[in-house]
């Protein structure tokens, strides 16, 4: 009996050890995948600028449209967003330098320094969505599995934040095989509440990097039951006319933002 117990214990330990080794290997693979994901969408050597068309549809059907231009410098974690439409918000600007965000109101001609106001123009878009990707720096994978997402064969990673500067402490991402592009993201609160879902079915290649062509963001916290069905606030973002033209340092400054706001 003792021998059987001993054998079973040894088998158990061996299984445990192999599980731990597998988990470590899996950790390494997940970290490597996150690094590849970041690399695919990060413009490390150039500035990136483009037009963003953001269409928000409230539950029930009310629509609002925002058109903006973004200037992005991933290597310095900087971006500048200038609103073109609607007319009433024209000239509003968002400047992010490092972890700090300035908002410029052309009516009051004043800046607000914050990292709390994360919604962009009251839509489901967060200001952090304009950042370059840094999954490998901000998150660690705690679980992974394979899953088919429509026509995409994906690796699904459950992520937990490494720091508190991110918008969401937990995320689940679907990364398509072969191109290492994030196709779907679910954002969770610390308690596990699903807060937002983002789908990126189509990318566009610009230079040697990728940018979403269109993405759909669903705010899982904003919903109404209409005709027996639950409708969520839904924001569609279309990115067009991408440019890799180099920009002077002064573009990513408050003074520039104030100068060009009309």
């Amino acid at each position: 009996m003792r021998r059987k117990t001993l054998v079973a214990s040894v088998i158990g330990l061996a299984l445990g050890a192999s599980m731990t080794l597998w988990a470590q290997a899996s950790d390494s693979e997940s970290a490597s995948l996150l690094a590849r994901v970041d690399k695919q969408v990060t413009f490390a050597d150039t500035d990136f600028s483009a037009e963003y068309l953001i269409v928000k549809r409230d539950p029930g059907g009310a629509m609002s449209t925002t058109r903006a231009v973004i200037f992005r410098r991933d290597r310095d974690k900087e971006f500048l967003v200038l609103v073109l439409e609607p007319e009433i918000d024209k000239g509003k600007g968002y400047l992010k330098v490092g972890d700090n965000l300035w908002l410029y109101d052309p009516v009051g001609k004043s800046f607000t320094f914050t990292s709390a106001k994360e919604r962009f123009e009251n839509s489901s878009v967060r200001t952090s969505d304009f950042n370059g990707s840094d999954f490998s720096g901000d998150y660690r994978a705690v679980a992974s599995r394979r899953e088919q997402l429509g026509k995409f064969d994906c690796t699904v990673l459950d992520l937990e934040a490494r720091n508190d500067s991110v918008s969401f402490p937990k995320q689940r991402i679907w990364v398509s095989s072969g191109d290492d592009l994030v196709r779907k993201v679910e954002d969770y609160s610390l308690s596990g509440q699903l807060m937002r879902t983002t789908a990126i079915p189509t990318y566009q290649r610009v230079g040697d990097r990728w940018v979403p062509l269109m993405m759909v963001i669903v705010d899982n916290l904003k919903s109404r039951v209409i005709g027996g069905r639950t409708e969520y606030e839904r924001t569609t973002v279309t990115i067009s006319k991408p440019s890799l033209k180099g920009l002077p340092d002064s573009v990513y400054t408050k003074d520039y933002l104030e100068r060009v706001s009309q």
Partner: protein, 420 residues
């Protein structure tokens, strides 16, 4: 049954080790039980448009803002009709007509603006306004001799490394929205100003010079020594923004500003400290506050301490709060302000708010509840209920939003406005 617990021990051990090995995965699974819980986005992946290649457009979007359109002219015309009903003393049930005061008013305003950007190095802009208020003018025609220049300035850009702005324009320093001791340049738009900025130095370094008739002992022979000069800059250390500012004028003396701001647990926290000296002992003012928003709901609060003994200091100016234009910040000692604002009430286009201001020096205060809606194109309706408390000579009783100084009132303003 003998040895039963020992018989199960290996299985327990195996299960425990397996559980340990997979614990992290399980904890992550807790995050969600469904990959598409009603979001309805998964159908986007069943037959998506294929990934594509887009040529680098090479576009320089700076031109969109720096030099186009070359010249733009715009403006608006608005008319506001107001009705007010309230009591100059707290209403008495025995005699509800005691202190009853009504008011009716009309205000017409037109503004015209131009914005010219002949090239990326020069920009000029101006806004002119004309107000028609029969209550104050006693006239029922527009008086075009009273056209006011709201702003008129030019910008010059030297190789993206130095920006110069000159003319009449507003500036804002400090962080207060209810109490603004830190805005050392609040009077900039009242005269000629010049600002020279070095955008890439620190987080921006600016020098300013202000000239106004009130600065000069003899207006007909002004001296350059009487011009006010100042500078401001920002620095960021991690998540802490530190701002410095200073201003000096020959007669009003020197003022220094230290601003701090950070964000903790999603809440903005900020503070301004101002020291001023005019040859005598220095005086101090401090403002500290917070801001937090949850979607459409916002909460904003400020505490203000004014170390000077005078009732109204020249640089503690009127508020630009979410609700109204209640005068604030002119009292010595401590004051408090709190604002709650809610947009899209019950899913409608109606916005509402509640503002409370209190001065400890005389125990006076004001509470204003308000609603705003735009039910039709170009039409905005605002309803406000201001109520003041404290002695009749109290600061907020005398300086509330209601020019009739009613203790409690209901004000309705309908504005029709259109731009061109």
């Amino acid at each position: 049954m003998r040895g039963g617990p020992f018989r199960r021990a290996p299985l327990v051990l195996v299960a425990a080790v397996l559980a340990l090995g997979s614990m992290r995965g399980l904890s992550a699974q807790d995050a969600s039980t469904s990959s598409d819980p009603g979001s309805g986005v998964d159908n986007l992946f069943s037959n998506p448009e294929g990934d594509t290649t887009t040529a680098d457009s090479g576009a320089d979007y700076r031109a969109t803002f720096e030099s186009a359109p070359k010249t733009k002219v715009s403006g608006d015309l608005s008319g506001s009709f107001g009705l007010g009903l309230g009591w100059t003393q707290w209403p008495e049930l025995a005699d509800p007509r005691a202190g009853l005061a009504t008011s009716v008013g009309f205000l017409g305003t037109t503004t015209a603006s131009f914005d010219a950007r002949p090239d990326s190095s020069f920009h000029a802009a101006g806004t002119f306004s004309l107000t028609y208020d029969p209550r104050t003018s006693g006239s029922y025609v527009w008086d075009f001799s009273s056209i006011a220049i709201s702003e008129l300035y030019g910008d010059y850009n030297l190789n993206d490394s130095l920006y110069l702005r000159f003319g009449q324009f507003g500036m804002s320093w400090g962080q207060g929205r209810l109490f603004m001791p830190g805005n050392l340049v609040s009077d900039a738009s009242s005269g000629f100003a010049l600002r020279l900025s070095l955008p890439t130095l620190l987080s921006g370094l600016s020098f300013v010079a202000l000239a106004q008739p009130s600065f000069f002992a003899t207006a007909s022979s002004p001296s350059w020594r009487e011009i006010a000069v100042g500078a401001t800059t920002d620095m960021v250390f991690g998540g802490l923004r530190v701002g410095f500012g200073g201003r000096y004028q020959l007669y009003s003396g020197a003022r220094g500003l230290l601003s701090l701001k950070t964000t903790l647990f999603g809440t903005d926290l900020f503070a301004d400290g101002v020291a001023s000296s005019n040859g005598a002992d220095p005086t101090f003012q401090t403002m500290a506050g917070f801001f937090r928003e949850w979607g459409d709901f916002k909460v904003y609060g400020e505490w203000y301490w004014n170390g000077s003994s005078s009732m109204a200091s020249s640089w503690a100016t009127s508020t630009d709060s979410l609700l109204s234009s209640a005068t604030a910040g002119g009292t010595p000692g401590q004051s408090l302000g709190l604002v709650f604002a809610l947009q899209h009430i019950l899913g409608t286009g109606v916005s509402g708010g509640l503002q409370w201001l209190h001065a400890f020096v005389d125990g006076s205060g004001i509470v204003v509840a308000g609603l705003s809606d735009s039910p039709w194109n170009h039409v905005t309706i605002k309803v406000a209920v201001p109520a003041t408390y404290g002695a009749s000579e109290g600061y907020y009783v005398q300086n509330g939003v209601d020019s009739k100084k009613r203790r409690i009132a209901c004000l309705v303003v309908v504005t029709i406005e259109s731009g061109f």
